[in-house]
Symmetry: D3
């Protein structure tokens, strides 16, 4: 249905080494999101008394219908990958109180095991859970005071498809959508990012409003799922 999320499946502690490790499935899209704590910050923050959250994103070569060449084999990261990992990083920094985090870095890794549309939004939603788990570890170990998790953050894609606003597009819909919009919001209902893109088309005020309304509703549901998973993360 145009206004329904695809089935969500969340598996925490999917791998054992990371401080947070979540396998996030949205329909047939499956992303392994890990959050790793490093006890130092990048050079531009040294001595600033606050922390950082950064993200990397990659697809396994056969996550897709046709096998794609590895970026390590090509020797460089594509523009699309750069764009996505910058988006994930900014989105998660909105969820974290960097002062309360202290001088440490959270490395978020989103590795797409299986792709069927919406990999960047599934990455954000899943990674927020992984970050929440990692922050719980820090709290239990007494490494931070207070709660560095400011709010939940989740993301969803919406689009105009066959003239209609559609929520949570799968790959078949996405590749034929006239407009594609990724929206990131907080539990408090504020925007973190809005990225609407028309490839070979344009969109009106009314279409934008319809897409944003769907996105708002979808994100509300996703954040409800996040709260259920780790209620103690943000009481």
């Amino acid at each position: 249905m145009a206004d329904a999320l695809r089935p969500i499946e969340i598996t925490r502690n999917f791998t054992k080494h990371a401080e947070g490790s979540v396998l996030m499935a949205c329909g047939d899209t499956k992303v392994l999101c890990t959050a790793s704590i490093e006890e130092k910050v990048p050079p531009f923050l040294r001595g600033a008394g606050k922390g950082w959250v950064t993200a990397e994103y990659s697809m396994l070569p056969r996550a897709t219908q046709d096998r794609m060449q590895r970026e390590s084999a090509k020797g460089k990261i594509s523009g699309r990958t750069h764009e996505i990992q910058r988006l994930i990083g900014r989105s998660l920094r909105a969820a974290v109180d960097l002062q309360a985090l202290g001088e440490r870095t959270i490395w978020v890794d989103c590795d797409v095991l299986q792709a069927d549309g919406g990999t960047r939004t599934a990455s954000i939603t899943g990674a927020c859970l992984a970050v929440a788990d990692a922050l719980q570890t820090l709290r239990k170990n007494g490494k931070v005071q207070g709660n560095p998790l400011r709010d939940w953050v989740a993301a969803i894609s919406v689009g105009m498809y066959q003239g209609q606003a559609v929520l949570d597009l799968d790959y078949a819909e996405d590749s034929h959508a006239e407009v594609d919009m990724n929206v990131v919001m907080t539990g408090a209902g504020a925007f973190v990012e809005v990225q609407g893109t028309a490839e070979g088309a344009v969109f009106s005020d009314q279409e934008m409003a319809a897409m944003l309304a769907l996105a708002r509703q979808g994100i509300r549901d996703l954040i409800a799922r996040q709260r259920e998973e780790i209620p103690e993360a943000l009481p």
Copy 2:
């Protein structure tokens, strides 16, 4: 003023080899935009009977307050550059009828000679003029039938700065803005791209509406300037 564009200066034919060459100045931001016609298309379009528009963006090392290292010397293109050149390319493809263009590519090069905020939006607005000039050349030479220019496209940045919606931020404003939004629209008043980003902050529906209203007005003015410059491009 918060709702005013900075002074615009447009110099066509700034360099002599390119089919379109525009020096676009928006306040102290100066971008040399060229459009080059290549009589072939990328592999994924071969034989499809239509053309392509692609863009590259770069800053001269001392376009900025402090000298930046060249990307050619670093041996790779930054994520920021990738993100911007993908945005410019998509925006200009909205202005061009790729069928009418025929099997050729327009290479758009945006080289920032001097930066003071808004380099990506000045690039789009200036490059649309360079593309229009290049298309005029194709029409005069009888290489295309009809007019491949579908509509004018221009872009502007807006943001939330000290709690207020502000149009066309310069570097000083941009680096302290809570929210930064780049908007690309057509002469017909439709959206091509909306990219709103809150670094370490969030924004509400009301703030988004205020920013979009300012952007709409600024782009209307920019497109009026484009029409004046080359009235024959889109009669």
Copy 3:
């Protein structure tokens, strides 16, 4: 125990796009092995009337105790990765009749989701199952005549640890072993590869014989598991 394999868990069809997709778990080591069919061969084989099998190997950044930098971010593949993917490729070519495969390539991708020693040998054993599944697909589609699977191939690590020959070392054992040997064998009991390495130590004929005996027994068990999983692959 020194002469026991760690628990084996095999999940076929772990992802949906690849012709063969196996999650191979050996103790806490978990490797996603996919086999992808491409209907062409590398340049050096064009027109030779036979096929090719090639492999790529990678570890997710937080597959390990400490997060490792991605090779795509570093822009180059390490010597260790090169060594491992060449080993996997050679091993699987021993399992496949390249004439019967015809002019196509099987791309094997081994992505380590969680590492606890023996990732290269788990990759070989799991990838052989993924290849077998992919070859079954080719047979069902009538694309090949006869059976391109010549024999099962599996691999195990053995080593000298605290003066004793040990089978299937986990990470804790492996990092303190005096000698580390990876052995690849066929279902018929022949060697494909023997790679014995002493870092800062040496080993005698007797130690080599003890290690090879353990390896032979471990591989026999692994190949029994392969046969059970896909009995129809090699009747």
Copy 4:
């Protein structure tokens, strides 16, 4: 005419951020030359009590008749670019008293906006003016004692074209010249560099003498122009 310089146009302060910024036009060749002061030296000079001058050179992709691929997109700098930027750096170091400069680096950037032959020599002549402006800034700010500008330096190309020695070749001449020579000299009339190259040809003592005589006269005129522009730089 064979023994005449093309028209020279010098625009100082072409951009606002750099300590020295000169748009140098020699005929249709236009190079933006900036000089940037950095308050540190490369590792090999640390603690040596003297400074350094280094240069980078690049052409905008459509500075030329046909669009050239960016070196940042190729991921590496061509041999030609390396050769030119080493030449520019050496030439300008002849103009500067590195002891008097003190422990700082002057980064010279020469970006060709439009090319019509002689881009490397125009770069040297223009960059010397940019360096002179940057040194004036240092003097005004009391950062240096004495005058680090030792002498003016300018450069010109000469060649053998249709059997005749020719001064200041444009692109059409240069691409058909039998011999191409770049000469760099000081205001005192001494050589800094002489690089004579015969591609698919050779040249005699007499031809060399004829070319050097033309070069000497051309450089004298160029240095007269430099003196006029900034007489206070070297009283």
Copy 5:
């Protein structure tokens, strides 16, 4: 003959700058092996009170029948080169007492001037002599106490060729061998490395035993030659 080494020729001090410099010829394979002392260790060993031995390997472009492209021109090192230089490094670390070496690094460079099979094993055997010479220099200069050379190390290739075990394969044999095994042993007769590889074939226990017996005898002869060359290195 199948069980004979090719003629060995050892030229010490082939070049003058390196602390050890040996031209090692095995039949028509000629490798220049140098050992260079650097008075520091890699980061992972700093402060550990012991040294390191590392190796690099390369072939001149026309060392081979057909000219090969340089790895510096390709911008990356092949998997084969990585594999070989890791093997050489590990082998030589078995020859050196890293504690006795002290906090310094021996850089071993093996550059193949002419290739006719067995370049990696000739590299190891020759490099051990170069290392022995370099260690003698350290001893004469009183930089080390005791003797950091623990034992001689040499290497040889064996293989199965036309159904028979063969020692020291030249290129013609090697490229048609069914099995190729490189063996590294010490003067005391212990194994350092055993790397047996069957490309498109397999090998039995009996074949492995036959190959190892040949290798053992070949290495005994090579180490006898090493002792003769520098008897004082390991009295």
Copy 6:
């Protein structure tokens, strides 16, 4: 002596695979120069009915007093290397009649085994002999008509050292020379290249004349040696 060449030693057929292979020793500088024939031309010459000569240059890591990092390990070629290999290529193209060569490429490889100043000039002089040998092979095999060798080409360095013009500088002289000039000439006494460089100094007309006179005499001697070596190459 300031006006004497260092001792020259020429070893032809130093390696066996290349069509021409010369070990060129000038004093303690030793360069292995090979010429390889490839039966095709670069893309820009296809169908033009003529051939090409191109050169690559490299130093072994321990050719120098201190070990240098390999360019293959750094992943890129330095500016100095680019400059030198372009010089060698241009110089040898002056020696070869590209029409008579026919549609084939001569790859010249100059690998410095031991460096003591003048490596680029020794490379040119030695490579000309290797090219002559390779051309003889083509002539004997009836692959070319006439003689593609137009003239001998040799090179030497001269400089100003302690106020005096000096021929054939070794490393100690070269690193203290005020001016360094590389001269390439033909057997007929014409210039191919003149590259005079003053690092931190300048030079006068008189000094240039003195250096050129020395170079002319040195090259005459070198070409006499070339003629003696292969008199049949250019009867």
